[in-house]
């Protein structure tokens, strides 16, 4: 019996590895997605290691050195320095830390409730549960996300936590609507009917039968949304409602630098480019994931 269990687990593991290999094959057929993934991997690595690899880790905090202020890019300062002499390259690396963290936390906060509400509304379509959940969702969706996020942050003290909460509050309705449409079609599948007839609990049906079949679109949307969340975060920071200086948020850096355009172009262009690159990477990965999850003909 134990040998058999071992053989079983081995077979399961092999199957999983085969599926992964097949997934990677489909993903890698789009070279741009591979580039996106490589770029993102580099960004994540750099962000994690920022304190060790940044040439001037101290510049990410309150620091002034007016002798080196407003220097153009050079071998000493790759991206130049800002008006109080901080190394923009170092600050950009630290800026990525905040961007990625905010993206991850916002999605973690926003996706889970959105998905659960969407599942419930989709599965109980036609009941008051659906009406309540989906109308609230509609109200949130009716307000432009940026405006809503601005309104919420403006009411609270601008800091990292409040900013993340505000964006998460804007974000969940998109997931409840996505999952709602998936769940309301999946509930008609015979495997759901069968589970109902067996007498399985609603919890089982929602989370064991329906949810696993929603993973692919949720994952794809999350990847694409990471870029958007970073963009919104940058926008909030740009208008001064996000992370407060001297912490290096990319949006704040762009805003600071923008005041000194065009003479000190480097102080705004490089942080802006950093934002563009990370958003692009997430979008390319999203495209690749869509290919992986697409049903193949042959």
């Amino acid at each position: 019996m134990r040998d058999e269990t071992k053989a079983n687990l081995l077979a399961a593991w092999r199957q999983r590895r085969r599926n992964l290999a097949h997934g990677w094959y489909k993903y890698s057929r789009n070279p741009l997605s591979v580039i996106g993934l490589a770029v993102l991997a580099l960004i994540v690595l750099v962000a994690i290691l920022a304190p060790y690899i940044a040439p001037y880790p101290g510049h990410a905090k309150a620091y002034t050195n007016f002798r080196e202020a407003s220097q153009p890019p050079s071998a000493k300062h790759f991206f130049g320095t800002d008006r109080i002499g901080r190394d923009i390259f170092s600050r950009t690396l630290f800026g990525y830390r905040f961007s990625l963290m905010i993206g991850a936390v916002v999605l973690a906060l926003g996706v889970a409730p959105g998905v659960i509400l969407g599942l419930l509304a989709g599965y109980r379509r036609g009941t008051w549960i659906e009406v309540v959940i989906m109308r609230v969702t509609d109200v949130f969706l009716a307000v432009p996300p940026l405006v809503l996020a601005l309104a919420i942050t403006a009411m609270l003290t601008p800091n990292l936590l409040n900013q993340m909460m505000a964006i998460a509050l804007v974000w969940w309705p998109w997931y409840s609507r996505l999952v709602f449409s998936l769940a309301s079609s999946l509930r008609n599948e015979y495997f759901v009917k069968e589970a109902e007839l067996t007498g399985a609990s609603q919890f089982h049906i929602l989370f064991r039968e329906i949810l696993p079949n929603c993973f692919a679109p949720i994952m794809t949307k999350m990847t694409l949304d990471m870029g958007l969340v970073i963009l919104i975060e940058s926008t909030l920071s740009f208008v001064g409602l996000g992370i407060q200086p001297p912490k290096p948020a990319l949006g704040t850096m762009v805003a600071e630098g923008a005041k000194r355009l065009p003479a000190e172009w480097w102080s705004t262009i490089f942080p802006a480019l950093a934002i563009v690159i990370v958003i692009l990477a997430f979008n390319l990965i999203g495209d690749g994931l869509r290919d992986v999850f697409a049903v193949e003909d042959v």
């Binding site: 097949h22 094959y25 489909k26 003909d297 042959v298």
Partner: protein
């Protein structure tokens, strides 16, 4: 079998598909022929390659991933696989016609039946002097084509959209489209599989009569032994990418010789009600690594050592009946 050269001849056709896991060797030397005025059935189970064969003949297989790795398809002696686009276009427009299993896929949902039918008639038919038909002639030809399929009120059907019709009616429209022209060879791929038996019966009878009237040849692809028995004179049984047995339809169905055909026939539930057999053990091979030799040998109850070495050629097993199985090898003189 008539001695004239055949209308359609497929010679040792090999077709494969390239996918992630490797190379699927699907068609492994399909050989078949259809003579002028003849009705031929191509029978096999899911995944045996019968649809791939038809798609190859029509040259509608997506390439890649598909690839013809050998053999030829001759239509009136000309190789379809080597034809240029223009010649192929003319061939498809004037000589070949096809009916598929799902009429909703062959009918465009956003155009009326009439506009689709008129297009076909306009493009493929000419007056005896070789001129295009007039608008009135086209209209009359369309109505006539619908009427011939037993459609009630063809004038009204012309203005309907495909979704407004029932499955049986849609398939009648497809038959009307296929037979509205003077095509010489009709390829019918499971035309009645999705229909109820009473509707299937009506449609097959209609098809039977129309094909007779037009004197067209038919290659009928199906998994239903009953359907080919009613409609064809000669059949090919396909298994895992090659023809394993061929012969006059009724004779072959009454006395199948190839072990696969035997197993298949024993699996068909009969109205006489003697129970059903155990089916055929195992399943269709993986085309990535098909078994060497005869592809049926791993499932065959009469397996012999040579079966796994080399694929058997066709041996005579009766009047005009041949089977690809070493059981019927003549002792060498």
């Amino acid at each position: 079998m008539p001695n004239r050269s055949p209308l359609l001849e497929v010679r040792s056709l090999h077709v494969g598909f390239r996918i992630f896991e490797g190379h699927l060797r699907v068609l492994d030397g399909v050989t078949l022929s259809v003579h002028e005025g003849e009705r031929v059935g191509l029978v096999g189970e899911t995944g045996c390659g019968k649809t791939t064969t038809v798609k190859s003949v029509l040259r509608v297989l997506p390439m890649p991933p598909a690839k013809v790795t050998g053999g030829e398809i001759l239509y009136r002696g000309r190789d379809v696989l080597k034809m240029h686009r223009h010649a192929l276009h003319i061939l498809r427009r004037q000589e070949l016609t096809a009916i598929f299993q799902d009429p909703l896929q062959s009918l465009n949902p956003v155009f009326t039946i009439g506009s689709q039918l008129r297009d076909i008639v306009r493009d493929s038919m000419r007056t005896p002097e070789g001129k295009p038909l007039s608008r009135r002639e086209i209209e009359a030809r369309c109505i006539q084509a619908l009427e011939e399929t037993g459609m009630p009120d063809p004038a009204r059907i012309m203005s309907n959209y495909p979704i407004q019709l029932s499955g049986g009616m849609r398939q009648r429209v497809c038959i009307a489209e296929a037979l509205s022209t003077n095509a010489r060879l009709l390829l019918a791929d499971e035309p009645t599989t999705n229909l109820d038996v009473t509707i299937q019966d009506q449609i097959l009878r209609k098809l039977d009569r129309l094909v007779d009237q037009k004197g067209a040849s038919v290659l009928m692809i199906t998994h239903s032994m009953g359907v080919v028995r009613d409609l064809t004179q000669r059949i090919y049984i396909m298994y895992a990418g090659s023809v394993v047995e061929t012969g006059p339809t009724r004779q072959l169905l009454a006395s199948p010789r190839h072990p696969y055909t035997e197993g298949l026939m024993a699996s068909v539930p009969r109205l006489t009600g003697r129970g059903v057999s155990e089916g055929i053990p195992g399943r269709i091979p993986n085309y990535l690594a098909p078994p060497p030799g005869c592809r049926f040998h791993p499932r065959c109850p009469h397996r012999m050592p040579e079966c796994s070495v080399e694929a058997p050629p066709m041996f005579d097993v009766g009047a005009d009946q041949r089977a690809a199985c070493y059981l019927y090898r003549r002792p060498s003189p």
